[in-house]
Amino acid sequence: MSQTFTKSMARNIFFGGSAFFFLLLVALTFDTMQVLPKRDHRENITPAVERGKMVWEKNDCIGCHTLLGEGAYFAPELGNVYKRRGGEFVKSWIKSMPTKVPGRRQMPQFNLTDQELDDMVAFLKWTGEINTSKWPPNIEG
C-alpha cells in the first residue's frame, strides 16, 4: 500500500467503521423488536408452549433436527412438522422410538410424560405459525 495511506488512517477506518456498523445493528435490532410481535404471534405463547420449549431444550432435539433451518442436519426439519404430520402423529412417533430397524438412523427413547408430549406439540404448533417469509419451500421442510 502506498505511503500516503498511513497506519493511523487505517486505524481510524477500523474504529470508525466498526462503531458505525455496530450502532446500525443496534438500530436495526430496535426496529426489529418493534415489528416482531406481528410476525411471531407472541400472544399465543401459552404456558404449555413455554414448557414445550423447555422439553425441546432439555432433550437436545437440536442435536439431530433443524428448527426453522437451524440445528443439525441428521434428522427432519421440525418447524413445520405440525402441519406436515399433525400433533397426534408427533406424539405417537416420539413414544414409539427407537425403531430398532437395523442400519437405520435411530432416535432415542426420551420417556416423556403425557404432559410433556402435549407441551412439545403445543410448542411445535406455535413454532409452525411464525411468519418465516414462506420458508421452507415446501411441506417436506
Binding site: M1, F5, T6, K7, A10, I13, F14, G17, S18, F21, F22, L28, T29, D31, T32, V35, L36, R39, D40, I45, K53, M54, E57, K58, N59, D60, C61, I62, G63, C64, L68, G69, E70, G71, A72, Y73, F74, A75, P76, E77, P98, V101, P102, G103, R104, R105, Q106, M107, P108, T127, I130, N131, T132, S133, W135, P136, P137, N138, E140, G141
Partner: protein, 458 residues
C-alpha cells in the same frame, strides 16, 4: 523465546491438540452414523456425538487462542506476563471443567444433566453450540475474566502495539458476546435472534480480530517485514471484517420470523464478507514474497499461507455460495451449510491456531525451528489434513446440491429420509476423507516427537 512467562502457553497448546484429536474421533463416529444409522446406538446417540464434536472444537480453539495470547503478549509488550501463576491456575480450571462437561455429555442422559446442573433455575441448555450446563458456562466466564485481567494488565504496563490492541479487542469481544448465551427467552424468535449475537458475532466478528492478529504476529516473525506495513494491513483487514460482518449477521435473519428487510441487509453485506478474507490471502503471500529474512521454520510459513488461502475458500467462497437470500431460501439448513462450516472453521480458526503452535512450540522447546525431518513430517500433515478437508467439503457440497434438488426444488419433493437415502454415496466418500484427515492428524502429532539437528533459538 525472549520472556520466561511465555512458556505458560505450552500446556494450552498441548491441551488444544489433545482435544482436537477427540473432536476428530467424534466427527468420524457421526460420519459413520450418517450411513450406518444404528452405529453405537444407544450408547452414543448422534446428538450426543455432535455436542461433543462441536463443543470440543470450541474449547480447543479457546485453548489455542489463550495459549497464543500468553505467548504473544510478552513479546509484543516487551514485558513478562502480569501473573504466570494465574495463567497456569486458569489452565487447570478450564481443562477440568471442560473434561467434566464432556464426561457429563457422554455418561448422563442430557435431560438428567440439565436436572443435575440447575437448568430449571436458569435455562440456558439445549441450544446449538451453547449446550454447556450452567456451571460450565459460568466457569467459562470466570476463566475468561481472569485471562483478560492477566492479559490487559500485561499490556497496560508494557509497550502497546497495534497487534496487541487488536488481539485484546478480539478477546474482550469474545467474552462480552458470550454473555448473550445466558439470555434464553421463551419466545423462540427472540431466542434465535440473540443466540446469533454470540455465534455470528464470534465467528464472523471478534474471532476474526484474533485470527488477524495471530497471523500478523507470525508473519512479522517469519518474514521480518516492517511492523508498520504489517499492522497497516491488519487494521484494514479487521476494519473490512467488521464493516461487512456486523450487518452480515442479517444473513441469519431471513427465515426465523424476523422482518424481510433483513434479506436485503444480509445479502448485500454478507456478499462483501469474502473481501477481508481475500485481503488476508493477498497479505500473507505479499509479506512472504517481500521477506527480509529466511526463517528456518518453513512449516510455520506454510501454515500461515495456508490459513490465508483456506479461510478465503471456506469462509469467503463457500459462505458466499449460499448467502444471498434467494439462494439461501433453498439451501438453508442443508448439507451445503455443513460443507461451509467444515472448511470455514478449518481454514480460518484451526489453521491459524496450528500456525501459531507451529511457530511457538519450537521456540518454547529452545530452538528457532524443528529439525528438517520433523518439519517435512509436519508439512505432510498439513497437506493430508488440508486436502482431506477440501474433499470433505466437496462431497458435502455434492450431497447438499442433490438434497436441495430432490427435497426442495423438485415438483414432486421427496421426504427428508428418502432424500438422505439418495445421497449415501457422498456420505461414504466424506467418511473416507475423514479417515485420511485423522491420519494427517496422527502424522502431525508424531512430528512433535521427531528428533534431529536443530539450531538454538536466537
Amino acid at each position: 523465546m525472549q520472556y520466561q512467562s511465555q512458556k505458560v502457553a505450552m500446556p494450552y497448546f498441548i491441551a488444544a491438540i489433545g482435544l482436537f484429536t477427540g473432536q476428530i474421533l467424534f466427527g468420524l463416529i457421526m460420519g459413520l452414523q450418517y450411513v450406518m444409522g444404528d452405529f453405537l446406538f444407544p450408547a452414543i446417540p448422534f446428538n450426543v456425538a455432535r455436542m461433543v464434536h462441536t463443543n470440543l472444537l470450541i474449547v480447543w480453539l479457546l485453548f489455542g487462542f489463550m495459549g497464543a495470547a500468553y505467548y504473544m503478549i510478552p513479546e509484543e509488550t516487551e514485558s513478562e506476563l502480569f501473573s504466570p501463576k494465574l495463567a497456569l491456575l486458569m489452565f487447570w480450571i478450564f481443562l477440568v471443567a471442560g473434561a467434566l462437561t464432556i464426561v457429563g455429555y457422554l455418561l448422563v442422559p442430557y435431560a438428567g444433566l440439565a436436572q443435575m446442573t440447575f437448568n430449571d433455575l436458569w435455562p440456558t441448555m439445549g441450544r446449538e453450540f451453547l449446550e454447556q450446563p450452567l456451571p460450565t458456562k459460568l466457569g467459562i466466564v470466570v476463566v475468561a475474566l481472569a485471562f483478560l485481567f492477566n492479559i490487559s494488565m500485561t499490556i497496560l504496563k508494557g509497550r502497546k502495539t497495534s497487534i496487541a490492541l487488536v488481539l485484546l479487542m478480539g478477546l474482550w469481544g469474545l467474552a462480552v458476546f458470550f454473555l448473550f448465551s445466558f439470555y434464553n427467552p421463551s419466545n423462540l424468535v427472540l431466542d434465535k435472534y440473540f443466540w446469533w449475537w454470540t455465534v455470528h458475532l464470534w465467528v464472523e466478528g471478534v474471532w476474526e480480530l484474533i485470527l488477524g492478529s495471530l497471523l500478523a504476529f507470525v508473519l512479522i516473525k517469519v518474514t521480518g517485514v516492517d511492523r508498520e506495513i504489517i499492522e497497516k494491513w491488519l487494521y484494514i483487514i479487521v476494519a473490512m471484517t467488521l464493516i461487512t460482518g456486523i450487518i452480515g449477521t442479517g444473513h441469519h435473519y431471513y427465515w426465523i420470523g424476523t422482518p424481510e428487510y433483513w434479506q436485503w441487509f444480509g445479502s448485500v453485506f454478507s456478499a462483501l464478507e469474502p473481501i477481508p478474507f481475500f485481503m488476508m490471502t493477498v497479505f500473507a503471500f505479499n509479506m512472504v514474497n517481500r521477506r527480509r529474512r529466511e526463517h528456518p521454520n518453513k512449516a510455520a510459513t506454510l501454515w500461515a499461507l495456508g490459513t490465508g488461502v483456506m479461510a478465503f475458500l471456506g469462509a469467503g467462497v463457500w459462505g458466499f455460495l449460499h448467502t444471498l437470500a434467494p439462494v439461501n431460501f433453498y439451501t438453508h439448513g442443508t448439507q451445503i451449510t455443513a460443507a461451509h462450516g467444515h472448511m470455514a472453521f478449518y481454514g480460518a480458526y484451526v489453521m491459524v491456531v496450528l500456525t501459531i503452535i507451529s511457530y511457538a512450540m519450537p521456540m518454547m522447546r529452545g530452538r528457532a525451528a524443528n529439525s528438517e525431518k520433523a518439519q517435512v513430517m509436519e508439512m505432510w500433515a498439513f497437506w493430508l489434513m488440508t486436502v482431506s478437508i477440501v474433499f470433505i467439503t466437496l462431497f458435502l457440497t455434492a450431497a447438499g446440491i442433490l438434497q436441495v434438488w430432490l427435497q426442495r426444488v423438485s415438483e414432486t419433493p421427496l421426504g427428508f429420509m428418502a432424500t438422505q437415502d439418495q445421497v449415501t454415496l457422498f456420505y461414504w466418500l466424506r467418511e473416507i476423507s475423514g479417515v485420511i484427515f485423522l491420519i494427517g492428524l496422527i502424522v502431525y502429532i508424531a512430528s512433535f516427537f521427531v528428533e534431529g539437528e536443530t539450531k538454538e533459538a536466537a
